[in-house]
Point group: C2
Chain length 175, copies 2
Amino acid sequence: MDTKTKLISAAEQLFDRHGFTATGMDKLTKAAGMSSRTLYKHAGSKTALITEVLKERHRRFQPHIEVGSVDALFDALEEWIRSESARGCLFLRAYGETGGDIPAITEAVLAHKARLYDKIQDIVAIETDGQAMPELAEQILILYEGATAAAIYRGPKAVVSAHKAASALLKQARS
Amino acid sequence: MDTKTKLISAAEQLFDRHGFTATGMDKLTKAAGMSSRTLYKHAGSKTALITEVLKERHRRFQPHIEVGSVDALFDALEEWIRSESARGCLFLRAYGETGGDIPAITEAVLAHKARLYDKIQDIVAIETDGQAMPELAEQILILYEGATAAAIYRGPKAVVSAHKAASALLKQARS
DNA sequence: AGCAATGTAAAACGATCATTTTACATCGTC
DNA sequence: GACGATGTAAAATGATCGTTTTACATTGCT
């Protein structure tokens, strides 16, 4: 694993576990096993590091939304939450901690969310034989977002409930 | 407005707008219009201040969940989001920023969420003539949570979509 | 052999962090 | 008219913040 990869993945872990602002550069250098000089040569600044972590997170998350059915979408979410993290959406947490005041971070967050909504629209179109149903897509997005949030305090079974609700809404929309 | 009230409401505003960790005590004293000595006499510590802000937030939010129907529940949420804040759930944000490591804060968050779920169970029972339907209640909780999160980037119309989804699930459960 | 790249360790930067302290003013109450 | 409560302003605490710098070691390429 090269230096940059090691840095990004250590940073992602610490940011997810302890928050962005509360994670200092000293803890980052220690966790990534490198000097602060090397860290700054690769990351440039803390803001840039956060942005890169979010972009890498999106890359890693992408396969979980690049699916062809609502069932697969929620199965993938359940797997992610069981194995990766049940601490809420890291993108929204970054947005909240920075108050939306740092353009690069805000852009990364909004791009991720736009991509998520677009993909859900595609999935809904597949499930309904090509019909565009933007409100149904938004409802499934909300169930997806809500499951991620509720899983923090209700565990992975929140995803199962959301999954069933999405299936019911879809079935109703088809009839 | 007495000193303590002024402090709590200034703190709530700053925490919501800029995050908990990023909000320093100097900005708190300036916004609340008091010396740091007075602030510490009333709050004790930053952790205690955050805890009190969350408890006060819960008190102020309570009327919005103490309702008798799913319609009223989502109408109240829509009103809250339009007038108060569309920055996501402040409780979950506090939990995320502290990593769940500060017991007093974690307790306040979990108590709020437990109260929310209990209330939704009551509402579902009213709507279904007394039947206990814990999974339907969880689904409505997820729509509620998801609307709060999605409203950050999709605006208040997310609450309208969630409202319709909740009504549909309820209608289906009744038949 | 020599040079550019990439790394380390460690100190220093000024700013800001949460918190405490020192010294003083303004009250309403007994 | 003294007193306790409640406030202010301002400085000091030691720690930690993000970032830069100085000085040196280890590589791989030409």
